[in-house]
Amino acid sequence: MIPEIGHLALWFALAFAILASWIPLWGAYKQDLLSLSFAKPFALAQFFFVAVAFICLTWAFERNDFTVAYVANHSNTLLPSRYKFSAVWGGHEGSILLWCLILTGWSAAVAVNSRHLPIDLIARVLSVLGMINVGFLLFILLTSNPFDRLLPNFPLEGRDLNPLLQDFGLIVHPPILYMGYVGFSVAFAFAVAGLLSGNLDATWARWLRPWTLAAWSFLTLGIALGSWWAYYELGWGGWWFWDPVENASFMPWLAGTALLHSLSATEKRGVFKAWTLLLAVSAFSLSLLGTFLVRSGVLTSVHAFANDPERGLFILIFLMIVIGGSLTLFALRAHKISSSAQYEAVSRESGILFNNVLLVALTLVVLVGTLFPLVADVMEWGKFSIGAPYFNTIFVPVGLVLLTIIGVGPVLRWKKDKPYRLLQTLRVPAAVSVLIGLSIPFVLNKTHPLALVSSVIAAWVIVTTLIEMKRQITHGRHWVAGFAKLPLSLQGMAWAHMGVAVTVLGITFTSLYSEERTVRVVPGDELTLAGYHIQYHLTQSVAGPNFWAEQAHLTVRRQDETVSQLYPERRFYYSQQNPMTEAAIDAGLMRDIYVALGEPLATEGDDLPRAVRVQYKPMVRWIWLGGLMMAIGGGLCIADKRYRAKRYVQRPKVTGASLSS
């Protein structure tokens, strides 16, 4: 019964989504207040019904209702309760439902937090979001219904969730990643609404900024979590593979980062309007494209969901309508938008333009690298795979240039700056950062040329950011008073920029100085890696709730001092054939020791020899620490008074007045 309620709720949600996609839009066109006033209730109703469906599906998992096909395929009575919860989005159908829940959640959030916006703008925005929701609900109901029953012959036991996904990382990673992906739908809807109404002033950009920041922060956190999960769960010790699915999340991030910066120029100076619109459309379009790539089976990937051409076709048609439609609107409307403001070659605007050009170039590099195998296949040039070498060759130099201008950007003045002033301001920071940057690798005794270059540039970003903050804080005041007055958005920017530097340092040192050894060991054997002595003691069997495991015990020592005891496992889930590697990690700020247990190298006798892979990963944590700093920075920016003060100032204008104009 409960699954039927969930199924029905989805149809109700669809009905409200269909209503939401034209009634308020018609109202905005006709200036009809009654139709306009439906926008918010419709958005809230969609959220309510999708949430009901989601709760019903969760209930089916918690109650082991194996008459529901999706539950039978992704759960099992032995599965621990917290994984039953995350199994809701462990497969295609449920994860699309999560997508939908988050989309309607964002729409509801826009509806609730929009009292300060003109009612016709918000009606258009909610209509556009409603249209997107129609597409996704139809997709669920027609091709991917999670409530389909296996009746009358239902199984008594479910198949279990993929063991890779039975992990804390999977409980948090997809919802947060989707919050980011789907969050760009708000920016998209604002852009389309702006194009429809033709009204794109500075306030439009200011409204959009907090929503874009929120989506971007979630996406940043989601990508960082995904990378961390891959690192400890896949057992390879790698943290980024340039896999199509990773690329699918990275492209909206790059475009979204460009959007954040170009929005600030549009808000402050009224420039780059059309460009900002295009980026807002692109960020979400790339999210949708990613969804298509993951679920249609056109590309191979370790993350790919089950391939189904019918689903692929549906999403492709949907993509054509949403992206094709919005880009057509862009082509027809955007060429009439003029950005009147002027700026000089040396100015904050130019800095942002340069930043945008590089970020968009990187987005295209990822897009080409991801889709080339598909294009080559279609053109019958053969089957290709594009690996890390292609991406790294381009990302390293372009990334370093981008990083260099991060240090300059915040110091630049809007409209017009003097090169001489710039030189004078940056002289000291440049000297300091070269000094610090060069000393880090020597202190760590890791002096690869690339390590030197990237340390100097990272130090440059951090030093210039801190000096700029100090200038903003003191500015003729005592620093305590100054810090209290420092706008949160500036603090946020500082966190985010320094976060990028921290991530880059992590990437550099991990990539250049990771060491790894795979060795055959018998109990008592000891190996040395990067100054650590690692002794293998024994392997024994242990039992888990839905698996048994071979668990090894190793001791890590350094200069006769025990650093840690590690227990890597090879798990055999009752529901699966293949063993799963569960690596043991001794984590630290400056290095990780990562041990993965291999198979036994003989079949009989006691004290079997085994293969173990031991890795030394310097500063790998910095990669995710930097991501966390970026997300915190985004959060601080959203909290800035600027975005909230407007609500109180503008509230009186809401009624009728904005309509009659």
Binding site: P309, L313, F330, V378, G387
Partner: protein, 174 residues
């Protein structure tokens, strides 16, 4: 008018992309039938990885072997390496093709993890890989004593894949 055309560029770009995505729906990226199965291994002459001088096709013939495409940048190659060592110790002849890699790293890799290869040649530009139709690393070609490609395996060679079909492919080479 000029501006209109300029602003239509994203739409045109997306339209082209859509055409490819549409076509791509009918293709299965996992299915990689090699057009070369049943045909002779293409001619080549490439530098050796560990020894001086070049290696050509004729030097390899006379005994069935596995041609394994690998690289140090490929995590799955690390995964299969230990199993290749085991196969080699059981007398399976394995020839390595080091694919688009850094030579220093590749040599270091072999000295650290063991060297299952009878001989290793270097395709650093990926040109011979195109002749072979290599999709990515790791890939393993099964070649008989006459130098005819009999089978192609995409992905990791491990205990499971060996037992589930690769072994019988190998036995048929003899």
């Amino acid at each position: 008018m000029k501006r209109l055309i300029l602003y239509s560029v994203p739409l045109i770009f997306f339209f082209l992309l859509g055409v490819f995505l549409w076509q791509g729906l009918d293709k299965n990226p996992q299915e990689l039938p090699s057009a070369l199965v049943g045909k002779p291994l293409p001619e080549f002459e490439l530098d050796g990885l560990l020894q001086d001088g070049t290696i050509d096709r004729n030097q390899l013939l006379g005994q069935p072997f596995l041609l394994n495409v690998w690289a140090t940048w490929c995590p799955s190659c690390a995964e299969e390496h230990e199993y290749l060592n085991q196969l080699a110790s059981q007398g399976v002849k394995i020839v390595g093709m080091n694919y688009k890699d850094e030579l220093e790293k590749a040599r270091l890799w072999l000295s650290t993890y063991g060297d299952p290869y009878q001989v290793n040649f270097v395709d650093d530009k990926g040109e011979y890989a195109i002749d072979l139709g290599v999709y990515g690393a790791p890939e393993t070609f099964f070649i008989d004593s006459e130098g005819i490609i009999r089978y192609r395996h995409v992905g990791v060679v491990n205990d499971l894949s060996w037992r589930q079909g690769l072994k019988s492919q190998y036995d048929q080479l003899k």
